[in-house]
Symmetry: C2
Subunit: 470 residues, 2 copies
C-alpha cells in the first residue's frame, strides 16, 4: 500500500472547467443535430459496413479524448437511427422527448440517487409516489391506490400478473405455480401487445396459458367471447387468473370494453388489469378521458410516460388499488438496506432493486404543463390524425379502424402495390415514417401522431408520400 493515493481517473472525473465546456458544447451540438434531423431523412442513412468497421476499432486498449468521442457519437446517432424526434415520424408509440423530461434526466444523472429505498432517497421516493397517486386519482381509483415507476409497459404488465398469481393462491409466493391445483389461464385480446407471450413464459405460467380472445370486428376484445372462454376454462378444471384489457391497442388504438371486462373478472374472481400503456395519456384530457370509462374498476393499470406523455425512454407506471399485495409479492428482508418501510420502499414493492429516479421526468413535465398542457398535447395528436384521415379519404383511401385516439389504420385504394411496398417506398423516400400492421385481418398502413410539434405541412408531406407510393 502506497502512502499516497493515485489521482482520480481524469477521463472519468474531469475537472469542472472541462465539464462545463463539454456540457455547453453538447447543448449546442444536440440542438443543431435536432434541426438537421427535422430537415432531413426520417430513416437511418448510415453506411453500416463502414460503421461496423469503425466500431470494431474500439478495442478500449487506449483511452480516447472525450471531445471527438462525443462528436463521433452524435454523428453516428444522427445517421444511425430511425428518428423518433422527426416531426414526420408517424410511427410506433415512441416519442420525441419533451424538454422538462430531458432536464429531469440531467438532474437525476448528476445526483444519481438510489431510488430503491426511501431511506436513501426520501424526497425522490415521495415525488414518485405523488405522481403515481395523481394518475391513480385521475383514473378514478381509490385514494389509497399506489404503485411505482417501471422501465416500461412490459414490466408493469408483468407486475400485474405476479400480483394476480399472488392473490389467487396464498402459497404461490412460497411454492410457485405448482401451488395451483391445475394449469392456469390468462386472457387478453388478439390485438394485445405480444409482450404478454414473453410475460407468460417468464412468470412460469407458460405461453399456452395465454388466451387471445376474438375481437368484435372493430379491434376491441369481444366481451361475450371472453365470458364464454373463462366459463369454459373453469368448467374444464383450469384456473383463470387474469384478464388484461387494452386501452389503446398497438395496432389500431382501440379501447377494449373496460367495464364489461371488469365485470367478468369480478364475477369469476379474476384480477382485472388494464394495459393503458399508450392510451392512458388520454386521462389528462377532460374531453377524451371518457373514452376510458370503466378503467376505474381495474385492479391495476399500466401507463407508459415514454409513450404519449413524451418523456424519455423508458418510464412506465404500474398502479394498483391493492397496495398490500405489492408488498406481499415483492417482500424481502435485507439487513444492509437503509430502511424497510414496506408501504413506501420501491425495492419492497416492485420488480426492480437498484433504480434510477425515473419519475422525475413525468413530475417535471406535468408540473410545467399541468393537466391542461398534457390535455392540449394529447388532443393535438388526435387532431393531427383527423387531418391525415380526411386527406387520405379524399384520395380514395379508407380507414380500417375507427379509433377516437391518435392512430389511423389506412387502406390504400384498389390497384395499389400492396401495403408492404407502399410503406417501403415511403420510408425509402425519407420523407416520413409509417408502419405496416394488421387490423382485423387486413393489412393496413398504420399512422400514429407521436410528435408534439408535427404541423399541417408535415401532414401534407406524409400524405403526399403515401399517395405517391400507392
Amino acid at each position: 500500500m502506497s502512502e499516497e493515493l493515485p489521482p482520480p481517473v481524469a477521463a472519468l472525473f474531469p475537472a469542472r472547467g472541462l465539464r462545463e465546456r463539454l456540457d455547453d458544447r453538447l447543448t449546442r451540438e444536440l440542438a443543431l443535430a435536432g434541426e438537421r434531423i427535422a430537415g432531413g431523412s426520417v430513416m437511418p442513412t448510415l453506411d453500416m459496413a463502414g460503421f461496423r468497421r469503425e466500431l470494431a476499432g474500439f478495442d478500449f486498449e487506449s483511452p480516447r479524448p472525450i471531445e471527438p468521442l462525443l462528436e463521433w457519437t452524435i454523428a453516428q446517432l444522427e445517421h444511425g437511427v430511425t428518428h423518433m424526434t422527426h416531426p414526420r415520424y408517424f410511427g410506433l408509440f415512441n416519442p420525441a422527448a419533451n424538454f422538462p423530461a430531458q432536464c429531469a434526466d440531467r438532474i437525476a444523472g448528476a445526483f444519481n440517487p438510489q431510488l430503491a429505498s426511501s431511506g436513501s432517497s426520501p424526497a425522490p421516493v415521495e415525488i414518485e409516489a405523488h405522481v403515481i397517486r395523481a394518475f391513480a386519482r385521475r383514473a378514478g381509483l381509490p385514494a389509497d391506490a399506489s404503485g411505482h415507476f417501471t422501465t416500461s409497459g412490459s414490466e408493469a404488465n408483468y407486475t400485474a400478473l405476479v400480483c394476480a398469481l399472488t392473490r389467487a393462491e396464498p402459497r404461490f409466493g412460497e411454492d410457485g405455480v405448482r401451488a395451483f391445483a391445475a394449469p392456469l389461464a390468462m386472457y387478453t385480446s388478439c390485438e394485445c401487445h405480444p409482450a404478454w407471450f414473453k410475460i407468460a413464459h417468464q412468470a412460469g405460467v407458460g405461453r399456452a396459458a395465454l388466451r387471445l380472445i376474438a375481437t368484435d370486428g372493430h379491434g376491441r376484445m369481444d366481451a361475450r367471447s371472453l365470458a364464454e372462454r373463462v366459463a369454459q376454462d373453469r368448467k374444464q378444471g383450469l384456473v383463470p387468473v387474469l384478464i388484461a384489457a387494452t386501452a389503446g391497442t398497438t395496432g389500431g388504438g382501440m379501447v377494449d370494453p373496460l367495464a364489461a371486462c371488469a365485470q367478468i373478472a369480478r364475477q369469476h374472481g379474476l384480477w382485472c388489469h388494464v394495459d393503458a400503456a399508450w392510451g392512458g395519456a388520454a386521462l389528462c384530457s377532460d374531453r377524451l378521458r371518457g373514452l376510458l370509462a370503466g378503467i376505474e374498476l381495474a385492479d391495476s393499470l399500466t401507463i407508459d410516460a415514454h409513450k404519449w406523455l413524451a418523456t424519455t425512454m423508458g418510464c412506465g407506471m404500474f398502479i394498483t388499488r391493492h397496495p398490500a399485495l405489492l408488498s406481499e409479492a415483492f417482500r424481502v428482508r435485507a439487513d444492509f438496506m437503509p430502511s424497510t418501510a414496506h408501504s413506501l420502499d420501491p425495492y419492497l414493492n416492485s420488480v426492480q432493486w437498484s433504480r434510477r429516479f425515473m419519475g422525475l421526468r413525468l413530475f417535471l413535465a406535468l408540473a410545467a404543463a399541468g393537466w391542461q398542457g398534457y390535455a392540449a398535447h394529447v388532443e393535438r395528436a388526435v387532431e393531427v390524425i383527423e387531418h391525415v384521415k380526411a386527406r387520405l379519404l379524399a384520395h380514395g383511401w379508407t380507414a380500417a379502424n375507427d379509433s377516437p385516439l391518435a392512430v389511423l389504420c389506412a387502406v390504400p385504394p384498389p390497384g395499389n402495390p400492396g401495403v408492404g411496398e407502399i410503406v417501403r417506398r415511403v420510408r425509402a423516400s425519407g420523407r416520413a415514417w409509417a408502419a405496416c400492421a394488421t387490423f382485423e385481418g387486413r393489412e393496413v398502413v398504420r399512422v400514429c401522431a407521436t410528435h408534439g410539434e408535427t404541423s399541417l405541412a408535415d401532414v401534407d408531406e406524409l400524405v403526399a408520400a403515401l399517395t405517391a407510393a400507392a
Copy 2:
C-alpha cells in the same frame, strides 16, 4: 376538426433559445450543487414535513414556469437524498456517476432512440452489442457469447433463472413450471443478494426453492455443502436448475469459489450463473481480474455498470455463452415491429421491450478511460479501503472479512456502544456514510469505496468519525 392545428405545447416543447438558456443554467447550477454537497452533510437534511406540504401543493391544475421549477427540484435533491456523489459516501454499491456516462444520458435523451430493435436503431444496438462482447471476452467467455443491457443486476439475475428453466425443460416455455416433474431447487449462498427471493417468487418457481448454502467462515459459498445439497435434493426427487455464485458479495465483497461452483453445476447439468454485479468491474484490472478466476466457466454473468463502473443508474448487463437460448426464452412475433433479427433485436432477446439506450453510458466511459482507466479506478478504490483498514486497525478495530476488493467489514474495539449506534452517530454527524451489515453472523460496520475522487483526507475524516462514535 379545425382548419388549423393548435400550436405545440410550449411548456413541453419550448423554443430553442429558452432551452439553451435553461441547459446552460443546469450545467452551472448542478456543478455548484455538487461542490456544496462535497463540502456539506452526506445525509439528507430536508424537513420532510415541510417538503410533503409543498409537494401536496403540486396538484397540476395550473402550469408552473419551468425555471423556478428546476431550481426547486435541485434544492430538494440537494437536501433530500443521501449523497452518493459525496466523496465520503462509503456506502452501498451506488456510485457518483462518471462524466462520460452523464454525457451519454444527455445524448440518449435528446435522440431518444427506441432500443427494442436493430431495425429502429441499428447503430445503438451495435454499440451495445460491442460493449457486451468486450466484457464477455474480458471475462474469458467464448467469442460468440452475447447478452444485453438490463436495468439492474436483479433483472440480469432473473434473466439467468428464466434461461436456466428454459434449458432444463423444453416444455417450460409453453407449459410453465408445471412442465417439470417435481419441485425445483436453485442454489446460492447465505451471503447472496436478497433479490433472489423476489426472483424465485416472480418466476413462479417459489421462494421455497431457494437454498442458501452455508459459507466457509470467510463469507464464501462452501463448495462441499453446495455439492451435498444438490445431491441430496436430487435424491429426494427435486429438480435442481441453477447455481448462482456471487463475485463480490453485498455484505463483505467476497468471491465464491467460481470454478468449483461451475464444476458442480456441470456435473449435475445445472445452469451456472455468476452474479458479479459489483465485483465484475475487477475484470478491467489485469492486477485484480485473477480474483475472479473460474468466471470464464459460467453459463451466464451479471455485471452492473452502475456499481463499480460508475455509470448513472440503472445500467446492468446480462452476458451468456448461450445466445440461442436467449432467443428461445424471449421469442415473440410482432408484425408491427420494424425487424425480427432474432440474433440482434433486444426485444427478442431480453425481458424488456421499450428500452432506453442505456449501453451508451458504458461505451463512452470505457472509450474515454480505456481498460487501463477503469483498472486505475478500481485499483484506487481497493487502495482507499486498504487505508481505511490500516487506520482502523491502528485504533484497535478488527476486520471481520478479508476481501481483496473494496469492502471492509470492520468490528469496533471492545466496550463500544454497538454497531447500530456507531453507524447512527456517524451518519448523524453528516461527516460520512457507512452501513450496518452482518458478516458470518457478526454485526459489522461496512465501509465500501464507491467514489472515484475520495481522498486520503476523506479517509481520515471517516476514520475520525468512526472512532469518535465508538
